[in-house]
Subunit: 477 residues, 2 copies
Amino acid sequence: MPNAVTLIVHGHLFTMQGEGVGYVPDGAVAIEGTRLVAVGPTPALAARFPQANVIDATDCAVLPGLIDAHMHTQLAPLRGVAQDVSHWMQLALAPYDRHLSDEAALAGSRLNIIEALKAGTTTMLDYDTPVPGWAEFYQQVGVRARLAPVINALPPAGMAGWKVGDLYPFDEAAGRASIEAALAFARDWHGAAEGRITVMVGAHAPDMMPREMLLDVKRLAEREGLMIHMHVAQGDREIEQMMKRYGQRTPAYLDALGYLDEQLLAVHLTEATEEEAALIARRGAHMALCSGSIGIIDGIVPPAHAFHQAGGLVALGSDQACGNNCNNIFNEMKLTALFNKIRYRDPTVMPAWEVLRMATIEGARAVGLGDETGSLEEGKQADLILVNLRAPNLSPVLQSPIRNIVPNLVYAASGHEVELVMVAGRVLVQQGRVLTADEAAIRDEAQTQAEQVARRVAEDPLHHELALLEPMRRGWL
Amino acid sequence: MPNAVTLIVHGHLFTMQGEGVGYVPDGAVAIEGTRLVAVGPTPALAARFPQANVIDATDCAVLPGLIDAHMHTQLAPLRGVAQDVSHWMQLALAPYDRHLSDEAALAGSRLNIIEALKAGTTTMLDYDTPVPGWAEFYQQVGVRARLAPVINALPPAGMAGWKVGDLYPFDEAAGRASIEAALAFARDWHGAAEGRITVMVGAHAPDMMPREMLLDVKRLAEREGLMIHMHVAQGDREIEQMMKRYGQRTPAYLDALGYLDEQLLAVHLTEATEEEAALIARRGAHMALCSGSIGIIDGIVPPAHAFHQAGGLVALGSDQACGNNCNNIFNEMKLTALFNKIRYRDPTVMPAWEVLRMATIEGARAVGLGDETGSLEEGKQADLILVNLRAPNLSPVLQSPIRNIVPNLVYAASGHEVELVMVAGRVLVQQGRVLTADEAAIRDEAQTQAEQVARRVAEDPLHHELALLEPMRRGWL
């Protein structure tokens, strides 16, 4: 009978306990079942668990698994078809998005989940339509997931063909159907896979449903005890819609509706002012910051620093593969630190340790999982990663007078240095290979499905609106 | 007897010929000796070279090797000890730098070169003191190098202990010695290793030597037919020195000296205004843009877009491991595109194809190697890389209506997807492994040397000036 305890020993442990990074030299964690049962110096834990199965983490950083607070994994088949353009949604994404079949969406989601998992993401907040097989794959692959089925009142035909500046039409029947579908999904999946899978209410955005429907969604979320995962002030497009329809900018509108509380994970805040960001933070809502995607899509650095300074909790998100173009929290940590230094022209803003906390313990708290994950702490779920510090870009490792590991994890790592990923005590990635899914088959299926999507796009006259056709003609792509 | 021709077939070829990226589907290149002898569709080249040795590049992008226009490889032992601080040079770098022995510098340089090589950099402009073994390692490992021995008139004791705002003391004897050392180095190494190694004149910066010495350096470079590789307007520190000493900002000072011509590779331009950048470009000088390091050190996006718009050639550089913290041109391409979108709040600024050209053909021209490398073109040196597009973060691959490869190489790749690196017809990296050096031994030696440096720093009372001691005390590192 195998021993019930696994010990990971001799690591550079970053527990994220306390206010900093909680470093433990020559550190160890003990895992029993899905949980951490001890965290501390290797000699002490080795003495306490002499019969344990041992994983040697020499020359590795041992970190809590990373939290990705905002993904649209189903868009992975469209990786790289939408960036470097104005009006990203209308002139780049929409002509593709309307041809994304359920099969393509599922194939893309699988690819994206594998990509993120290999880069050390153990908790994924996925904001998508619940196509068949989506949640099942999360169950199979073994990561922690918070799934947010999309709720909006947009017409089923999608947004292609709408002119920039037009007020969106609402379709109330479609809106009701999306609420019903989300509710049914929550009943099936909230708390599934031994609690690894939970559900959030995926209100699309304040501009994408009528006021009454937005209020219904809030009541429903309260009744079901679910958090709301919603895009807020996500672009000038949204602010323009809100001003035209309600004469208010999004933050004031939501505040008047009583929407800004700890139940809300507010995604992006791209167009929020520093004052609006601080207001949202003071009301108790949390923020998902997608530095990479907002940088690519809008050329904007959202006011996360102001949100943070006002006492708000910030989590990091990688958003979608068509407009970022990767789903990798190491990438988001680096971009977040750098973009904010640039926004404030100050190299001391958003230091490495601060963004590492956003990617781990602060992010976990922001998404409502602070009691379960985000730090290496006795009693918490065993969600952790081992990062190889022998990689040339992470070497050398220095301890004193300045310890260099955290800065290098944030500024030099790319995620490919992740050697082992464990979620709820189960090893999902070992020596950089995914153990719980067939990566090559997933890649091939995503390729096949993406080619079919692209063929349908090419046959659709609407594709002539694509802003990137001109660069194609000029030989730039 | 082995066949003299190698064919790389079935790749997604980006030749960088013409004004765009020069895409060739199912493309091939033929290599004989150090040079490309044919570039074109696979069927045509396979018919022309039926006896060739074949490398299959199916599912790979084939690109010109990347150009890194500004590195300080010898600082690699200090990776991660200097960032997130104000006054980076004085309060973070200097207390370490003065304890960097020749042995440590060499060990660091080796590590950094391996790091960059694995990430697809085939041409390295290295700006350092010529310690014994430095150029020899470039010769051994097989990359293309342009080495710039540092010339300045700073006192040998280094900059530690100087107060922020003090005018630097000049030491004319040290200045003359650094010129002599550079000249001797150029005589030994310019054109060495079958022409792979060439030398540039590494004038440190306009503020780091007296006016007469700066003019001597220019005359010397003209006499020897060497380009000048110099930091220009690299920080508010420099501008302050120039104003105090000469009453002029750097660009006007250099223009008056006749310094701004095609012989000059002007590095950074951190503090240059858009007008100053445009002036430098119009005078014919070239620019090395280090987005990552200047973002970390200063929180600034240099005016490369204005330089480019004025007709200047821009190359990308990764700078040093203590303040970037990686040496990876994929990282620089991504940061350059994103930082400039943010600087101008415009997602169309610096599109993917533009920065890919900076990393290849435009970069090669900027550093004076445009006839030899930077594009896949008959007659040029066979400097190229294969990038695995089956990596999850680079999948799927789409061709039509929008080809997604270049955007994904810029925004999603990290450099770890580089499978094969060839320089001058020789394979240096295969399946991601370095063939011409012992990576593990190099890493171990860099670790040993770096620990010794750190020990000397800890014993030096000057280390109490380190700005990062406070974060250490607070448990943030």
